[in-house]
């Protein structure tokens, strides 16, 4: 197993308390940054590390930080996006509940680099128990002098707040998150202006995922160049993958980017293969919004190369034969899984979570769900299969925020790769409505 930068001490007893965390080398990055580095030097290290946003989009973090507008006399904010709610993704929850101080350490170092005097952790409302863990840890950090006025005598002061959401997936979109944090309805904003110019309270703001902020800690401790040595090409460092579905060993794995997908699924070091000795049918590699891929395309690219767990390799072939690393929500499905039912389930989620602000997403997500429901329950027609592809296309790219795409991609990809299964549902309405393993009768992709 490769190196672990974030989760090395995750199983140490009491690691969620300040003293134990400190004993295991915690808060070194704060000391190093505040005492020996200027804020710009910290940003420079993050740039060198090649760290890319771990929330799904994979945008280079160093570049995002350097885009932050820095007008004189105007406060800036660092906001941590802990509104992890994508089906299949559960890495941040674990990281925060087990290692709350790692996130706080990252927030202090990151805020110092960006010159923020007040920072926020916006946490998903359902994770109330994690919020309590974080609040306790923040209180400890204040007591130890790592938060508050004049941290470690450096003259730098920082206040850190945790704010719970009210249970809306859309508040994980960064501008909706900022609206919600401001106390308004969580509707995504029109862009531009981007948060780097006008974010929280119309001030320059950086919004980063929990894992991204946590990764700043090893980058500052070991240096950006050291961090960049891990990984392959432009996918540097380690990534938390939350593997779930029909695997022998589902769970959260910190992998060095570049592990072959085949190794990740089948090796005993990681997921240990598909459960009950069954065959793999399909994988959703990065959370429910990325395109689903059948077995043959997830293990090998269309060109026949081994697919690796990197941003580039997974997106090889575009959306025709590729997918995305996304947020690392790795869902494996065995041969008995019904793709139509799964697609309907995903669409049900997006229908429920659309904010309703812009028309293609508000109306389209509901439409998709209803037609997929019909198909799944044996009332669909061949025409309906083309209809969902067409509706997905009408949503994609025409919405205010990426939720529209997130709703459209899985549907389009499912039909692209598993059309025969949709057709089977139309031609075998009786069997399609039967619960259980009837789907096994569906023909396998030729």
């Amino acid at each position: 197993m490769g190196r672990k930068l974030l989760t090395e001490h995750i199983n140490v007893e009491g690691i969620d308390t300040f003293d134990v965390y400190r004993k295991h080398g915690g808060y070194r990055s704060v000391e190093k940054a505040l005492k020996t580095m200027t804020p710009d030097e910290v940003v420079e290290e993050v740039k060198k590390s090649g760290l890319r946003g771990r929330g799904g989009a994979g945008f280079p973090t160093g570049m995002k930080w350097s885009f932050l507008a820095k007008p004189e006399g105007v406060p800036r904010y660092l906001v941590c996006n802990a509104d992890e709610s994508e089906p299949g993704t559960f890495k941040d929850r674990q990281l925060m509940s087990k290692l709350p101080h790692l996130l706080i350490e990252g927030m202090i170092t990151g805020s110092y680099a960006l010159g923020a005097r007040t920072s926020y952790i916006y946490i998903r409302g359902e994770l109330l128990y994690v919020l309590r863990i974080l609040e306790k840890a923040i209180a400890e950090a204040y007591a130890a002098g790592f938060l508050g006025e004049n941290i470690l005598g450096s003259g730098y002061s920082l206040d850190l707040h945790v704010h719970p959401g009210a249970g809306a997936y859309i508040c994980g979109e960064e501008t909706a998150l900022l609206e919600s944090l401001e106390g308004k309805r969580g509707n995504p904003r029109n862009k531009p202006p981007f948060p780097a110019v006008q974010g929280l309270y119309a001030r320059p703001t950086v919004v980063n995922n929990v894992e991204t902020i946590a990764a700043v800690v090893p980058i500052v401790n070991e240096g950006g160049d050291e961090y960049a040595k891990l990984g392959v090409g432009k996918s540097t460092g380690t990534k938390l993958i939350s593997a779930c579905g029909h695997l022998n060993k589902p769970g959260i794995y910190e992998i060095e980017l570049g592990v072959p997908v085949e190794e990740f699924i089948y090796s005993d070091e990681y997921c240990g293969g598909i459960w009950k000795g069954r065959d793999l049918k399909a994988v959703v590699a990065g959370g429910s919004s990325v395109p689903i891929l059948p077995k043959e395309l997830i293990l090998k690219t269309a060109a026949g190369e081994n697919r690796l767990m990197t941003y580039e390799s997974l997106s090889d072939g575009g959306f025709i034969t590729g997918t995305m690393l996304g947020s690392g929500g790795f869902i494996a499905m065995d041969e008995t899984t019904c793709i139509v039912k799964n697609t309907w389930n995903f669409s049900r989620f997006y229908h429920h979570e659309s904010c309703g602000q812009c028309s293609p997403c508000r109306e389209g997500t509901g439409w998709l769900e209803k037609v997929l429901h019909r198909l799944e329950h044996g009332h669909g027609s061949m025409h309906d299969i083309d209809l969902i592809v067409s509706v997905a296309k009408q949503i994609e790219g025409n919405t205010i925020c990426p939720l529209g795409e997130a709703a459209a991609w899985p549907v389009a990809a499912a039909v692209r790769h598993f059309r025969h299964e949709f057709e089977w549902h139309v031609t075998h309405p009786q069997e399609a409505t039967m619960p259980g393993a009837a789907y096994r009768n569906a023909p396998v992709l030729a």
């Binding site: 229908h351 659309s354 309703g356 812009c358 109306e363 439409w367 209803k370 205010i400």
Partner: protein, 338 residues
């Protein structure tokens, strides 16, 4: 100043103008439709996606095309920008899709809707839509809520443009209504039935692009195309009220009073509820003369106005535009929006 090319027509506008407003300076059939954007209301726009256009060249400095279609109502112009609206097949296809999306949950009860004849959605669907639907499911419905004696809310007709929310925010001291719920279950409502009651609340009727908010004092009295609009004014005691209105006559009776709308259906000067709901006698008003109504509108049937003539198409265009222009020449119908 920034010079942009819109559908092959050059226009020069001040920096910071939106693409939509630049197109409105050209006028005629090239203007993108707008269902949620409302110039006098700050913050509107970007929601209905009806005005999406293709930016074939971002600016003179950076002539790359923009990767996605952009909402012309909120995207500002850059010098040297090349925009395709009616000349882009992609834009026309997407717009057709937007019409479809807006209509799938719309009740299509135009025959009994007071807005029919002056409804933005009706016009939009007529110009860009198709006559059949692919939607077979049940349309969404809502519990009826009463928002007071003056305004009727028909939530089923609402397209969630948010205009009435911005109106209440910017015109009235306290907003009591807003968008509740999420996704296609979101609705305009007052939290625990409340009456929308203040001196300027009636303006939400004028800004509503569809028949979701209508005038209860005019309800079912007359189809708008049988009424005659006449401009009039009075000295209103309310300082904020401009007192300039349009009276809608049937015979000698004033059936309703509205604020004056421009050719894009926008109210530039607001009126108070006293003028709108209480002053329904000719003797209350100083008449100015017939109101100008777009020739494309059913209300102005049989009125004659000069057609709008667009400026000449210039020849130095990117290849994608010229190709589209040949295949799909811009609409030159005199009078649409004119």
């Amino acid at each position: 100043m920034a010079k942009i090319t819109f559908d092959g027509i050059e226009v020069e506008v001040p920096d910071g103008t939106t693409i939509l407003n630049a197109a409105r300076q050209i006028g005629g059939g090239v203007v993108p439709p707008a269902m949620c954007y409302y110039t006098p209301l700050k913050g509107t726009g970007g929601k209905c996606r009806a005005c999406l256009v293709r930016v074939a060249a971002g600016s003179a400095k950076d002539p790359r095309p923009m990767p996605k279609l952009v909402a012309s109502c909120i995207t500002t112009v850059q010098d040297g920008m090349v925009v395709e609206n009616t000349t882009s097949q992609q834009v026309m296809d997407v717009r057709k899709g937007i019409v479809e999306m807006l209509l799938i949950n719309h009740p299509l009860d135009c025959p009994v809707c007071d807005q029919a004849g002056e409804c933005d959605l009706q016009d939009f669907a007529f110009e860009h839509g198709v006559s059949t639907t692919r939607y077979e499911e049940e349309r969404r419905t809502f519990e009826k809520i009463d928002i007071g004696p003056l305004i009727q809310l028909h939530m089923t007709r609402c397209i969630l443009c948010y205009r009435c929310v911005y109106t209440a925010d910017q015109l009235t001291p306290e907003r009591v209504h807003g968008v509740l719920g999420r996704g296609d279950a979101s609705e305009i409502g007052t939290y625990i039935e409340n009456v929308i009651d203040n001196e300027f609340s009636g303006n939400v009727i004028d800004v509503c692009p569809v028949g979701a908010l209508t005038d209860k004092t005019f309800r079912f009295k007359q189809r708008v195309w049988f009424t005659k609009p006449v401009n009039a004014h009075r000295d209103c005691e309310n300082e904020k009220c401009c007192g300039r209105v349009t009276l809608w006559y049937k015979g000698k009776d004033v059936l309703r009073v509205t604020a004056r709308k421009d050719q894009y259906g926008e109210v530039k000067e607001w009126i108070c509820n006293t003028c709108r709901f209480d002053k329904k006698e000719t003797s209350d008003w100083v008449l100015e003369g017939p109101a100008h109504i777009s020739r494309a509108s059913v209300i102005s049937a049989n009125h004659y106005e000069l057609p709008v003539v667009n400026p000449q198409v210039i020849l130095d265009l990117p290849e994608s535009t010229t190709r589209e222009l040949e295949r799909n020449p811009p609409l030159r119908l005199g009078g649409i929006n004119g």
